[in-house]
Amino acid sequence: MLTLSNVSKSFPGVKALSGMQLDVRAGEIHALVGENGAGKSTLTKIIAGVYQPDEGQIEFDGEIAHWATPGAAKAAGIHVIYQEFVLFPHMTVAENIFIGHERRGAFGLVDHRQTRKDAVELLHRLGVDIDPDRRVVELSVADQQMVEIAKAMVHKVKLLILDEPTAVISGKEVELLFQRLQALRADGVGIIYISHRLEEIFEICDRVTVLKDGQFVASHPTAEVDRDRLVSLMVGRDMQELFPPKADPATIGAVVLEARGVVAAGRVRGASISLRAGEVTALAGMVGSGRTELALAIFGGLEMTEGEVVIGGQTFRKMTPAKAIAQGIGLLTEDRKGQGLAMLLDVASNITAADLDAVSRWGLVDRRQEDAIARAEITAYQIACRGPQNPVVTMSGGNQQKVLVSRWARTCRKVLILDEPTRGVDVGAKAEIYRIMREMAAKGIAVLMISSELPEVIGMADRVVVMREGMIGGELSGDQISEERIMQVATQKIAA
């Protein structure tokens, strides 16, 4: 029902998709897999009419389609559940479910009672118990996800696209979701299912298409491939080649940072973690388990309501980024654009942003010294750019990430925290970032990596700390580190 042939799309500085092909049949669940940055979300947005392809052709329901707007794609019967939900936070659940398809009564007026009734029924069919009168802003993330799914069921969908739908839900909710998807499949709806969790793909999908670096790699019935084959298709080479050797246990030093009983942002509920010099520790767990918030709290980016951070012989109950930086902690945030880079500034300014004082005298920035530093870093990290004055906004994701890595590598003397450091980064930059992490560790720095990519966790970590519902669920090291063990710890319910 949906066929894409030779679809390409470029953005300034990046070729996001080239020569992409995809075909999805009515009544199948079609998995789309690829590493972060492989082009899955661009592809999704092209199908949804958000972007228009530069080249290539889309055929939907036997006709050539040109969707100029998301509205046009919706009208054609395409519904997307984005990873970042499209919900109106201050409207009610019922209103959100029926937005664009309001239940109407006399004179075409919105019938709020009917809307509410239908919403109750829909939510009931989904098997969830959500008050339709609550504002979406007040719901948990899992409930918001359910509202998104309810929304999809309102529309006469022919093609449903789900982008990482299970990233924020677990257990029973996943079961419910799968039941709904199977019912939709039986009704002849075509479903594109994007997920990182390969086991889900084998569980529910009929076929799988692999993307890498914006290009089509392969398409197979799920029955005909196995897990390892899928991973190597996604990565493009044997995963093991990417990772530098792990640390010799003998080189791992003393604890340099200890966080005790941290409570923050309602997401971290008493987590303790200690980091050792020379060790790469991975913080694993599901999205929403509080990993990012724990890192932010340690760095002072989120207020710690309880708990303390011990570093350099000092105990901090109130941490701030300024203190953290002074103590030699670096934090590479998950959201490169939103929380990391000053996008409009150039490479040099971004590299020195965390230690401006080092390149300034009497309050004035020594631009020459700054340039020299930037040039050295550009060479050292092989950052592709036009020079220190290149605004970072025009650079590719991988190179932007290297700018951030270089920023923190310069300032962190004790602890480097990296939150999803390889998200949206190509394989070359990935290997580079792994190498840098190892180098930092070898210099005696404690490295903490937050990652959702299990192969990466397994390939890099000397020790894995698994978070679950805002607490530390368990710790694995050495031979204990395996995908199964990590998932097991991450998803098991905490005993009451």
């Binding site: 980016g301 036009r386 020079g387």
Partner: protein
């Protein structure tokens, strides 16, 4: 995606592209030049000494306010209170005996008003998270009320002579007020472009979350920007009071809009983090030239306002397009 190990030179512009990039970069300066040439061609008196000196006299107070406005806009703000601060400073200037001996007191009082207003604006915006538009609107109204309460609606009194000289005098044809503005422009340009504070302004405006995570006191930086704007507006008010000589409650009327228009025309992005003082000043120069050309060309004076309205939308659209392209 690029795997380049060598610095990527593919982004380097070819000849034609370079020309286009250059044109885009200097579109503002070129349009100023074109406007001057056109005006001069049509009206010979445009470039006469008297007219040029008149334009420079007018440009000085506006330029001063624009400098402050640029700081505020860079941190994603907007300062509507500048005109009210100017008028209040001017009212203060006439509230004494009208002798030079009062100048220091007047000076100190005016600066205190500018500083206080900027502080309140900044605190409301940074600490209370009030939208800059509303915060500065409110202080504007309050100042207006305080001013007319103080003067009982009818200001009287004289501006001390020294302000008259600073506001309307000239040396070798260069107005004093322009010299003051030029000096301030250089000082604040250095502050913005070269100092760590300036860098923090750009980072805070470009991305406040990033700024906070870098340990930059984003709130403090924001507040300081509003204070700079308030203080410069107070100075401009004193200078302007010396220029017009008599003071009513509305000295500086329209300066809030004009300074925002100049900054936007000069490429300072309302979304923050992008723009320079030089750009804002060129914007101000264009505004003054346009206003003057309207008169020189014998067009009705009302055309000044109409053109201003049209120009700001076009300028904003131009920068939007450039950002998208």
């Amino acid at each position: 995606m690029s795997h380049a190990v060598e610095p990527n030179l593919s982004g380097m512009a070819s000849g034609a592209e370079a020309t286009r990039a250059w044109l885009q970069r200097y579109a503002l300066h070129l349009s100023l030049l074109v406007m001057i040439v056109l005006s001069a061609a049509i009206s010979p008196s445009f470039l006469s000494g008297g007219n040029v000196s008149n334009m420079l006299l007018q440009a000085a107070p506006l330029g001063m306010v624009v400098i402050g406005q640029v700081f505020v806009i860079l941190v994603r703000g907007l300062d509507l209170s500048v005109a009210s601060v100017m008028a209040t400073a001017a009212v203060v200037a006439t509230s004494f005996s009208g002798q030079d001996g009062d100048a220091p007191v007047i000076f100190a009082l005016a600066l205190a008003i500018g500083l206080g207003t900027g502080l309140v604006n900044g605190l409301l915006v940074a600490k209370r998270n009030v939208s800059p538009f509303l915060a500065t609107l409110a202080t504007m109204i309050v100042l207006q009320g305080m001013r007319s309460a103080w003067t009982q609606g009818a200001p009287s009194g004289n501006v001390p002579p020294v302000f008259r000289i600073l506001g309307s005098g000239a040396i070798y044809g260069v107005p004093y007020n322009l010299i003051i503005t030029a000096v301030l422009a250089v000082i604040f340009s250095v502050l913005l472009a070269k100092s760590t504070f300036g860098r923090k302004v750009y980072i805070t405006g470009g991305n406040p979350v990033t700024a906070r995570l870098l340990g930059i006191p984003a709130d403090g930086v924001t507040i300081l920007c509003y204070v700079i704007s308030g203080v410069l507006a107070a100075l401009a008010g004193l200078i302007l009071s010396g220029f017009v000589g008599i003071v009513d409650n509305w000295v500086g009327r329209g300066f809030e809009i004009d300074s925002i228009v100049a900054a936007v025309m000069g490429g300072v992005a309302l979304s923050g983090g992008r723009g320079t003082i030089a750009g804002g000043l060129v914007g101000a120069a264009i505004l003054i030239v346009v206003f003057n050309a309207v008169l020189q060309l014998g067009l009705p004076i009302q055309m000044q306002i109409i053109i201003k309205g049209v120009v700001i939308v076009i300028a904003a659209a131009f920068y939007m397009r450039r950002k998208a392209g």
